[in-house]
Amino acid sequence: MTHARSDEGVAGGEDVLGAGVLERIPDGSDLLTAEDIVVRFHTKRGVVHAVEGVSIAIRAGEVLAVVGESGSGKTIFTRRVMGLISGGNGTEVHGTVTYDGTKLTELSGKELSKFWGAEIALILQDPMTSLNPVKRIGEQLTETIVLHKRVTKKEAQQRAVELLRSVGLSEPERRVRQYPHELSGGMRQRVTIAIALSCNPRLLLADEPTTALDVTVQAQILDLLADLQSRLRMAMLLVTHDLRVVRSRSDRIAVMYAGRIVETAPTPELFAEPKMPYTEALMNAVPPIAGPNHIRLQVIPGRPPDLVNPPTGCKFSPRCPYAQEKCLTEEPPLREAGSADHQYRCWYPVGSEEGLKAKARNVERGRSAAGTP
């Protein structure tokens, strides 16, 4: 990353987003690593263990999906990675985040903010709320450009128009003068993407980028992200609760439960051979889109864990059909399944002999070790 990059790509060339691609770290090496990330909130009710010891590595140009239900800690984790959550004042953080050789976790707020927008960008779930309702689209776009690039206001405005065009927004000249509420949901999300990409970041954190959108628009936005990501060779951390969304759009998947990564694997492998019962359950709980209707859905009993008083042992054990006594007391470590790329956290993994036995035993006694039928 050199500063030369700052001066180019503004003049309104066809592909404003492409600038600087050549200088990127070669694909495959780690762009960002997060090690043993812990985030705890000290509240009146007790300590909320939002994220407990999560480690990931995102390679340049790859899409890593973090999947989990509400309360799994995926959002907190993402924000901690970016540094938007910092310690102090009742928030406890541990672990290190290294971005391209720089330890982000050791930087001051001011130093961190130099990376934000320029190197690492963020898009959020709801484009309705993530754009400032009282500022024009153009303003919200140009302020980042002016902040991070040495350009004049006019150049920034030009670039803003180009950016809007490149995210597929019609009439970009008109759009820059509009306010967020004048656009539809999909258009708004395109704008937030344009903002995120305005300074050619090398890492995009997309936190549920399509959850608030309708299915047809969701498809459009996912296509757009995939297209931009591959064209720009930009790494992406895609956070979502919907496994189906990431199946075709990620290189690797990390499944989070109760603030921990419970399974991580290359996408095809995860779908083909899930090891963690939770991953399996998550896949099966979704009503299928083919086959007969009125199918009795497989249920994950119980409710997501309370992060203040998480269960002992394996956090999924109270809801797990495989759970044995050991699961209730001992928390399984992340184990490798074949390669270092596929790791999971389970004593009785799906498809394994122990797993089959454990399940059979539970079927036999009519309940799991945790007492769940």
């Binding site: 889109i289 994950i300 997501p304």
Partner: protein, 350 residues
């Protein structure tokens, strides 16, 4: 995604013959409009007609703003529709007086999207569930009926006795809502996005519960949702709505496997694919152009024409009539896609 599916249950309303006597609810040319700011009118529902058969589950699907929830509420007369008829058990309930309508209410119940918002935070669970009985002067039966219904929806009556809604999770709250709707033993239950606010792991519990309740209480369901997978699974027949109009109606499996209306097709193809997508795929995929226009100012003619790849002058000039293109399959389109099996659905079904 084939593991651990149970077999298709025998209870399926679709097999019924659909004769007039079985129609429990009929919408005729239902119109709902309400004023928007700036002296404009939102054309939320613009003349839809449907029949709901006794014992079936009719799915109503579409993207947000298409008018599906408005239709649900219009059936409930909350508020009364702007035009058209809602015929329930042979009577047009839009013409009923307030007191006559009130008499009818127990037979027509509704559950809502937001389980938290559906329950009064200041009241205890048994009071919430028992309130309809009190309203109907059956307060004395509360002690008996409420625990029954609570058990039926999978809650322990003793455990919930002194609790208030905030002490429960979303899924449990939705169970309470269902219990409240069932306590009057309705005939028709309108479910307005009942699971869209729930986590995947809980969603399945509620869907199964609804199926169970339907069987146990002999309900007819109108199931409104935007999640195609959910609708597909629970419905016998599905009506697809777009911008205040129904564009396609038919039996669930057939409709999803072989969509005839271009919009249905777009919808089905937009479901996240389970196949890995490459750049080339993206180039090929026709995701449709843009988004649904505003219901304040809907397009002339066919409302989908602004996004439809097949649209021509006729679509702009002429509102397509609903017609039966196959037995039980109705579509409102000038250019229905009638070749056998849709490409997207084929890929999915393989």
């Amino acid at each position: 995604m084939t593991a651990a599916r149970t077999e298709r249950p025998a209870v399926a309303g679709a097999e019924q013959d659909g004769s007039e006597s079985d129609v429990v609810l009929r919408l005729e040319d239902l119109v709902v409009e309400f004023p928007a700011g700036g002296g404009q009118t939102v054309h939320a529902v613009s003349g839809i007609s449907l029949e709901v058969h006794r014992g079936e589950t009719l799915g109503l699907v579409g993207e947000s703003g298409c008018g599906k929830s408005t239709t649900g509420r219009a059936i409930m007369q909350l508020p009364k529709p702007t035009g058209g008829k809602v015929v329930f058990e042979g009577r047009d309930i839009t013409k009923l007086s307030a007191s006559e309508l009130r008499e009818l209410r127990p037979k027509l119940q509704m559950i809502f999207q937001d389980p938290i918002s559906s329950l009064n935070p200041r009241r205890r669970i048994p009071d919430i569930v028992g309130d309809p009985l009190v309203v109907w002067g059956r307060g004395a039966e509360k002690e008996k009926i409420v625990p029954e219904v609570l058990s039926a929806v999978g809650l322990d009556p003793a455990q919930v006795a002194d609790r208030r809604p905030h002490q429960f999770s979303g899924g449990q709250c939705q169970r309470v809502s269902i219990a409240r709707a069932l306590v009057l033993e309705p005939e028709v239950l309108i479910c307005d996005e009942p699971v869209s606010a729930l986590d995947v792991s809980v969603q399945a519990q509620i869907l199964n519960l609804l199926e169970d309740m339907k069987a146990r209480y002999g309900l007819t369901l109108v199931f409104i949702a935007h999640d195609l997978g959910v609708v597909r699974n629970i419905s016998d027949r599905v009506a697809v709505m777009y911008l205040g109009k129904i564009c396609e109606l038919g039996e669930t499996e057939a409709l999803f496997d072989d969509p005839v209306h271009p919009y249905t097709r777009l919808l089905v193809s937009s479901i996240p694919s389970m196949e890995t997508v490459t750049g080339a795929d993206i180039e090929k995929a026709d995701r449709g152009r843009g988004e649904m226009p505003s219901p304040i100012n809907p397009p002339s003619g066919c409302r989908f024409r602004t996004r439809c790849p097949l649209a021509d002058e006729r679509c702009a000039a002429e509102v397509p009539e609903m017609r039966e293109v196959r037995p039980g399959r109705y579509v409102a389109c000038h250019h229905p896609i009638l070749e056998p099996v849709g490409a997207a659905a084929a890929a999915e079904g393989a």
